[in-house]
Symmetry: C2
Subunit: 290 residues, 2 copies
């Protein structure tokens, strides 16, 4: 296989990779960055059609990288070999492992979720990620999350809890931010994820008769005292402002998580995982199929 | 008030502050760094006797800093004013807010916990943090945590769940690492924290008849099916290796958290908060006093 080698920091591809850390160039190009062995492997497992894969053997940490390169190339990715110095410039991680891919963005809509919840499986707009849902919907709705790391952690939580999908309302952070990809440890490639306005999401949830339970410190009902079975959407507010007036006023049931310590000991990612796993418990207690 | 001004990067205090990022110089000096308005305010609230407070008005984010400086000085801290450039060198945060304190380290022992659990309140070795425990012990034991950020998040979880104390066994990370202080958002100053060898901790727990429940993916019992009431210590393993053979073999009950998604979606901090809040639910459901 003939692989183009990039040795100059002035190479246009190098400049473009650095640009892709910012949202506007990402959206204009319709792509995003996937850095790291684990994340790239997961993208390939989930049939994400990587367009380009940049690698620098000087940074490799193990022996599995050539296999991954071959797999990516077989799946259609164009390979580029970089010098150590050039890779250091394009890497955004503090400790690069010599692997950086460019993947196509995708968009999933509420219509895609319709198909998913109807058990039709694949949505068409994003190949390979969706599996038939043979049970009552269990969704997570997050509002205006600001920190990419929190959004990534929330995606991991939703994955572990077995949520059918995550809906991000009025996002402040781009779901294709490199730190979302990293913090999600690749879950971004497997959990159905819809970005939509709150008003539309509420209308859709009502149409589907999916009950909305929103966590907020001011609620009277403890989250453990709420019935979290049946068609359910757990609603979480943003880090700084909590739940918006819109969701406070329109959710079926506000609930609170009891707090023993200082007021901000629970951040939104922690509150999310607590609420989701209480729902898992009430919905049967075991979502692992064991 | 006469405040010493530091304008040179070569000032010995500047060099010492940079050194204190590393464990050995911290331990030799018996101190640690507390950076940031929120963390310093909490240290003062908890009567931590700050020795020195370095500040640079050029980095201040708000109007409350002078009040904090006055409070620290009244409590005995020596103040130093730094230029913007000098502060940038001593700050370890990416976005400094112009405040960095040096605080004395402390050590709490199992004997201190004895007094705490007996309801005697203050331990003597660390002023101001301990409150009488008027109920059955609820402890968190973490083994060999590697990442300071995880340890800080775990401390927040224990605080929010109302744990009486956290015991760190065979630590890999120093509890006074700047990133523990930061990730704990100051909880380090309020949650009783003991560092001790696993063998001694087990002996102490058995002597106190505190039941040990350890989370591990291979357990048969779901964590929600275990009885988490009564005197309880939740045992969590390390990030990379999970629970050690020692705790696997010696815990009263191994439990598992069900996982729907990819194998590593739950990290140790997430598994900890899930388990602690299930214990909170079983122990009465509301730890906030509301």
């Amino acid at each position: 296989m003939a692989v183009e080698k990039i040795t100059s920091l002035q190479n246009p591809r190098v400049k473009q990779l650095v640009k892709l850390r910012d949202r506007r160039p990402r959206d204009e190009a319709g792509v995003f960055l996937v850095e790291g062995y684990r994340e790239i492997r997961r993208a390939l497992e989930k049939k994400i059609a990587l367009q380009e894969l940049y690698y620098a053997p000087d940074w490799f940490l193990g022996d599995n990288e050539p296999g991954l390169l071959a797999q990516a190339q077989a799946a259609g990715a164009k390979l580029f070999e970089l010098t150590k110095e050039v890779f250091a410039k394009v890497a955004y991680r503090e400790r690069p492992d010599g692997l950086l891919a460019v993947a196509p963005q995708w968009r999933q809509s509420l219509t895609d979720l319709d198909r998913l919840l109807a058990g039709c499986g694949e949505t068409g707009s994003y190949p390979g990620s969706l599996v038939p849902a043979a049970r009552e919907p269990f969704l997570l709705v997050v509002e205006a999350i600001e920190k990419p790391g929190n959004l990534g952690t929330i995606l991991r939580s939703a994955d572990a809890a077995g949520c059918d999908a995550v809906i991000v309302c009025d996002p402040v952070t781009d779901i294709f931010n490199p730190n979302v990809v990293r913090a999600s440890t690749g879950v971004l490639f497997s959990v159905p994820l819809v970005v939509e306005e709150s008003v539309r999401v509420l209308g859709w949830l009502r149409e589907k008769r999916i009950r909305t339970v929103a966590t907020t410190p001011g609620a009277k009902t403890l989250y453990t005292a709420a019935d979290l079975r049946g068609p359910l959407a757990v609603i979480m507010g943003s880090e700084q402002y909590g739940l918006s007036e819109f969701w406070l006023n329109n959710s079926d049931l506000p609930v609170r998580i009891p707090m023993a310590g200082q007021a901000d000991s629970l951040n939104v990612a922690m509150a999310t995982i607590i609420t989701l796993f209480e729902a898992v418990r009430q919905r049967g207690g075991d979502n692992s199929g064991a």
